[in-house]
Subunit: 224 residues, 2 copies
């Protein structure tokens, strides 16, 4: 094995990096200097001496300058839909970038709102579609909304992020009651005055252990 150290593996790592931009979800795309109109997800062949996760983290950091607040494997993709590289399979990752992170400069990378996507290679299109679906599903299980926000945020910002992800309006009092019951945030001692209106207190994501929340069976969540 060790003689392979540093050599390129035959598979690729493909990243679906999301952020919130102008009240929409957006994904980071990349184009080569040669082919100005062929956009693609950031991807690379990892070397044999890094784990899938560390390779994904490295590629994300190379693209953005910052490390994603969250990075998780989506799945492996293979089969008839070929990659632009001559590889056998691609491992897709989902990453979340806090809103307001300055966009990468130079023109090689750009954020695309999900409603305005250009053509993508077929396998990357499949990866992105599954990534979007997984985001919606994992929202309940993982702190997706929190990782799309900066470390300190107002409760209104958090609610708007949930509304963006869920695609529907939420009632303020209900949202805050649920948030309180879940022990997910803690207040900081800072307030932010956003133009007119009462200033909002800033909170941070600070999940606290709670006794295994004695919930009933939720058969109604089954997709059918």
């Amino acid at each position: 094995m060790s003689e392979r150290r540093g050599r390129k593996a035959p598979h690729t790592i493909d990243l679906a990096l999301f952020t919130a931009l102008r009240n929409q979800l957006a994904v980071l795309l990349w184009r080569t200097p040669e082919e100005r109109e062929r956009w693609a997800l950031p991807w690379e062949h990892p070397t044999f001496d890094e784990t899938l996760e560390s390779a994904a983290g490295r590629i994300a950091t190379e693209a953005l300058g910052t490390t994603p607040g969250w990075l998780e494997q989506l799945a492996a993709f293979g089969g008839e839909k070929r990659h632009q590289s001559e590889n056998d399979i691609s491992v897709g990752f989902i990453g979340l970038i806090p809103a307001g992170t300055p966009p990468p400069v130079g023109g090689a990378y750009a954020w695309f709102p999900l409603g305005e996507l250009p053509m993508l290679p077929p396998r990357q299109r499949a990866i992105l579609d599954e990534a979007i679906a997984a985001l919606r599903v994992r929202m309940d299980q993982s702190p997706v909304a929190f990782k799309l926000l900066p470390p300190a945020f107002t409760l209104s910002e958090l609610q708007h992020m949930y509304e963006l992800l869920l695609g529907k309006r939420l009632h303020k009092a209900s949202f805050r009651r649920a948030l309180q019951a879940a022990w997910l945030v803690e207040p900081t001692d800072e307030w932010r005055s956003e133009g007119r209106g009462r200033p909002a207190q800033l909170f941070r994501y600070a999940p606290r252990k709670r006794r295994p929340t004695q919930r009933g069976i939720r058969l109604d969540l089954l997709i059918s």
Copy 2:
């Protein structure tokens, strides 16, 4: 690409096939005729002309004689934990086999209850651990319990399967109310008399479309 047709790919497909056995979850393991004490998950190098899913289905069918009622990709595994094969990465799949399916004969394959697992190669151990965790998580999203039962089952059997997966007792009336509300089963016109006691009606899994179940935000499901 086409000149690769039929050739082996460098990655492997590894299967975590589960069934319910003697009131426990069990996983299918396999050993080579040469090495009688080295058990492993069923695995194989796929060929280039099949998709990941079809390769997984083929390997499962070769192992069991029957096709799993459910087969879904778990994730790709790579990095320092090496496979027994000289491969780069392994793609893990989860499969569910109805309880009571006759076990494969010949001694090459055997069901192991999760409490009595032998040593496994390190990467396969990781795959199995993640598969078990994913089973518990996806239970709410996918009809895991139903696919571990034969096509026709009693409501008590279904409840016992949920109790096995959740690791806790459920209240009969609550369970049935939730089941009714979810429109997941329909009665057959058969009844089964199981020794003493009133005979039970048999049901089948028959999910019916329902309008997008207007649920509240469930922040309390977030793992913390």
